[in-house]
């Protein structure tokens, strides 16, 4: 059983790391502040979510696992709002230029 859980953790964390890679690739390659914002907030959040998913079996109890999920939900909420705010600021900057 613990072998299955370990494989699951490794798979999820690898997938999470891949999304972080995708997010950074987007940051480096996308031409525009708005597109870079999209890469950052969408890919990195998914990466974090998969990392959290992979760490759930190792959390050591229901309460720590809930704490992990709470952290992820917090980051999700933050990214959703923050991408709105940054997007608006980016558009204003490009209009001013």
């Amino acid at each position: 059983m613990s072998l299955v859980l370990d494989v699951f953790s490794i798979a999820a964390i690898c997938a999470g790391a891949f999304f972080f890679l995708a997010g950074t690739a987007g940051l480096l390659r996308f031409p525009d502040a708005l597109t870079r914002l999209h890469a950052l907030t969408k890919a990195d959040n998914l990466g974090l979510g998969l990392v959290v998913l992979g760490l759930l079996p190792r959390a050591g109890g229901v309460l720590p696992a809930l704490k992990l999920i709470a952290i992820w939900l917090l980051v999700l909420l933050a990214s959703a709002i923050v991408s709105q705010l940054i997007g608006r600021a980016a558009r204003r900057e490009s209009r001013l230029q």
Partner: protein, 315 residues
């Protein structure tokens, strides 16, 4: 090369790189952003050094609140920023500054590298007496029991600095509301965040303050998180900064040091010295002090960031 070493080397390189960038970038806003990133990266360093209490405080104050303070300073200095950037000290001054900085760096490196091995430490003695204080977290034990007088003085110093900030107000604005009025579209994203996040943040702050007795945490990081949530609500225009003449505000501000002093003086009667705790009630007394401290820290830090009164409260 082991993974740990590679990770730590990478982390050190990241922190140093961001630090160099912070110092060399020309625009103030960019420098402040880099400084906040530097503080967040430093949190990881503290975690690697097993100093989790410091890591919590670094994340809360060292990067978040200090960054906001610097942003406020940058905003006030914006009128003179062009002149400041254009000004360049002569080659002699720059050489002398470089020499002095290098000297200090060498002295610090020597001090760290030539520390006696094994280092002189009071750690075993401190850990031996810890159960008597009722705390299981050694850092909280040191802050609240062994060195409580120092902690009390720190809280008073923060309060005095707040009075210093208030003293920058114009005479006619004394007693008014700090900072400028913030507008936010009440249906917009920022107002939404400022309504949803603070309840969660306040619970998290209280949780971390409560945790400090047995695990890394404590009143200071907890209070700072609550202050950040209050500032968030103020920045979004969801709530307004209270006028500094309000009695309830001033009561909250002195609550922490007052409770601390009261417990300290009661120590004369219960345990024979200022700030001594009777062993049976040590934990209870420390918790009482920490409750006062969380309130005061949250209020003081929030008001420090809000700035001196800039709007009159009189109609």
């Amino acid at each position: 090369m082991s993974w740990t070493l590679a990770l730590e080397a990478g982390l050190a390189a990241l922190v140093l790189g961001v630090a160099v960038w912070t110092l060399s970038v020309r625009q103030t806003f960019a420098a402040v952003v880099a400084f906040v990133v530097y503080g967040l990266a430093l949190t990881l360093v503290w975690v690697r050094l097993s100093a989790l209490d410091v890591a919590l405080t670094e994340a809360a104050i060292g990067s978040g609140l200090t960054g906001v303070l610097l942003l406020g300073a940058a905003a006030r200095l914006r009128a003179t920023e062009a002149d400041a950037v254009a000004e360049r000290p002569g080659a002699g001054v720059r050489a002398a500054a470089a020499a002095l900085a290098a000297l200090v760096a060498l002295a610090l490196a020597a001090a760290v590298l030539y520390l006696p091995e094994p280092a002189h430490t009071l750690a075993p003695a401190a850990m031996a007496e810890l159960p008597a204080t009722g705390m299981r977290n050694a850092v909280t034990g040191v802050l609240m029991a062994y060195r409580a007088a120092d902690t009390l003085l720190e809280k008073v110093v923060v309060l005095i600095s707040l009075i210093g900030v208030w003293s920058l107000a114009q005479d006619k604005l004394w007693g008014g509301r700090p900072g400028l009025l913030h507008h936010a579209d009440p249906d917009g994203a920022l107002a939404f965040l400022a309504r949803r996040l603070p309840p969660v943040g306040i619970v998290a702050g209280i949780y971390i303050a409560w945790l400090g007795a047995d695990q890394p945490g404590g009143a200071f990081p907890g209070g700072t998180i609550i202050a950040a949530m209050w500032l968030l609500a103020m920045m979004a225009g969801v709530t307004d900064a209270p006028p500094i003449s309000r009695r309830w505000l001033r009561l909250v501000l002195v609550a922490g040091p007052a409770v601390f002093l009261a417990v300290g003086f009661s120590g004369f009667f219960t345990a024979g010295a200022f700030l001594a705790y009777p062993v049976a009630y040590a934990k209870a007394l420390i918790v009482v002090i920490e409750v006062g401290m969380v309130l005061t820290i949250a209020a003081t830090l929030g008001l420090l960031m809000a700035g001196p009164p800039e709007r009159s409260d009189k109609p």
